[in-house]
Amino acid sequence: MDTLTNWIPNVIEYSNLFPQAIVDTLIMLFVTGVISLLIGLPLAIIVVVTKPEGICPNKTIFFILDKFINLFRAIPFVILIPMLSDPTRWIFHTTIGIKMAFVPLIVGTVPFVARQMESAMEEIPEGIVEASISMGMSPWQIVRHVYLKQNIPGMIRGMTIVLIAVIGQIAIVGTVGAGGLGDLAIRFGWQRRMNDITYVVLFLLLVIISIIQMVGDWLVKKTTH
């Protein structure tokens, strides 16, 4: 204990802050991941099927959606936060705390999920889709049985990348008052020059990212035939 107090005095002093910060980070990660997948996956499906060479080509829908996704992918996340402060206030009646983080986090992540899911579905060979058409499958059946099910490892890989990127964005929202580990690192580690807190936060983030990566790899292995 004495050595710990010597090595990381501030961490010991503020150790009561850590559990909440970890929980906040994990809640933001989980909620953002789930909601972004729920919105991003349908968007990806629409993009894939309405492509000129898709199973239900529709130039207008494809063009609008494709450009829309690009637009939101283009906005740097730090700019997205103030941009969305009005809708955030309108939805949650607050612009601080982890609730305030959900709006920019989800808005920033949905297009990313959509692109990742789109490319996973694009990896399914065109011939498999053609074989399904030739079997008399309807577009909806093809979405359900082919696009959604035939490259689950690719989708998991995509989500792993997304979640790890979201960890980075959670740290950014932390700096503007959303809480979480990033917030801890900025307010204590940086602003009060408590370097040991920064390093411990870093270590904890590393652990979280490693766990995400490990679980992701394990699931990919499990679902690859």
């Binding site: 060979p125 011939g127 030739s134 049985h145 035939h225």
Partner: protein
């Protein structure tokens, strides 16, 4: 069973329009194995894909079982597609499903009762001889096994037609033979009409009843396989036939002035072609006796197409000009086609 009427398909590419199929009309009758052969880029794949409207023709009709598919509603079209099985060069099995699930998929979507699905799938697994691999995934199978699974999958809806798009092109010769035998068996036992797309003449020779030869989007020649092999008309057809036999090798040898093609005076190199009407007749010994002509055979080949033999002989006839002329006349009288390839001359 399947009738294409004036089918045309053009693809728009950035280098301009490419007419893949130009005004093709063919009629695939019930119960036959119909071959469509052509070099790559001839439009044969596009043509077969027009048959189940994987490609929608720009012009023309696709009549399947009395119904024009180009006019069918999406629901009707899907119903018809279930009656047109299709297999592909690269098998296109669903990677996340087991062999059993791949075959059963189409029935599961129809909400067929489980025991009915099971009976049907097990029956097909027996047909393709892969019962013990039913829980394997496609990635664990060899190419030939995958193609057998895709055949079973195509048969699960009891189709009337099986379209084979280069079904054997990715397989080795031995596996190709197994697949061809399986296709022939399905055709005979289940009465399923088959359309075979291929660039290999031996595939056509092996199992087809009728063949269409395609070049640059058009069908240049079409007919019964025995007729096509015994009396090819078009240059393209002859080229394909020569790929399936050695009979044209002699032209190369002549060009290279190979010793066996060096003729003496009084000698002529001839190609004789005959079919079943005149295979039983001992022509060679007959002319030798009648005309004092010696005949030495330097190449011989007999193809058996739909159980009827087509023979090719390349031989050197030796004798006086008159005798050889009379022998040739005698051959021709018997319906043997004779082509004098080269005459001997005095050096």
């Amino acid at each position: 069973m399947i009738q294409l009427e004036h089918v045309t398909k053009t693809f728009k590419t950035k280098d301009g329009d490419v007419q893949a199929v130009k005004d093709v009309s063919i009629h695939v009758k019930e119960g036959m194995i119909y071959g469509i052969i052509g070099f790559s880029g001839a439009g044969k794949s596009t043509l077969v894909r027009c048959m189940n409207l994987l490609e929608r023709p720009d012009e023309g009709k696709v009549i399947f079982d009395g119904q024009d598919l180009t006019q069918a509603s999406p629901v009707e079209l899907r119903k018809s597609r279930k009656k047109i099985g299709m297999i592909f060069q690269h098998f296109n099995l669903l990677p996340a499903l087991t062999i059993y699930e791949n075959i059963a998929l189409s029935l599961r979507m129809e909400k067929t009762p489980k025991d009915e699905i099971d009976a049907k799938v097990m029956n097909l697994l027996e047909l393709i001889d892969l019962v013990e691999r039913k829980d394997s995934y496609p990635s664990q199978l060899s190419g030939g096994q995958k193609q057998r699974v895709s055949i079973a999958r195509a048969l699960v809806n009891d189709p009337k037609v099986l379209l084979c798009d280069e079904a054997t092109s990715a397989l080795d010769p031995q596996t190709t033979q197994t697949i061809l035998k399986l296709i022939k068996r399905i055709n005979k036992e289940r009465g399923i009409t088959v359309v075979m797309i291929t660039h290999e003449m031996f595939v056509v020779k092996e199992i087809c009843d009728r063949v269409a030869i395609m070049d640059a989007g058009r069908v240049v020649e079409e007919g019964d396989i025995v007729d096509i092999f015994s009396h090819p008309q078009e240059k393209m057809t002859k080229e394909f036939i020569s790929t399936a036999s050695n009979a044209n090798k002699i032209d190369e040898l002549i060009e290279q002035q190979h010793p066996i093609t060096q003729l003496k005076e009084n000698e002529q190199l001839v190609r004789l072609q005959y079919d079943q009407t005149n295979t039983s007749h001992p022509m060679i010994s007959e002319i030798s006796r009648k005309f004092n002509v010696d005949c030495s055979i330097i190449y011989g080949n007999i193809e058996i197409l739909q159980e009827s033999p087509i023979g090719t002989l390349i031989c050197v006839l030796k004798g006086s000009d008159d005798d050889i002329r009379n022998s040739i006349a005698c051959f021709k009288q018997d319906g043997i086609r004779v082509e004098v390839i080269k005459r001997g001359h005095i050096d």
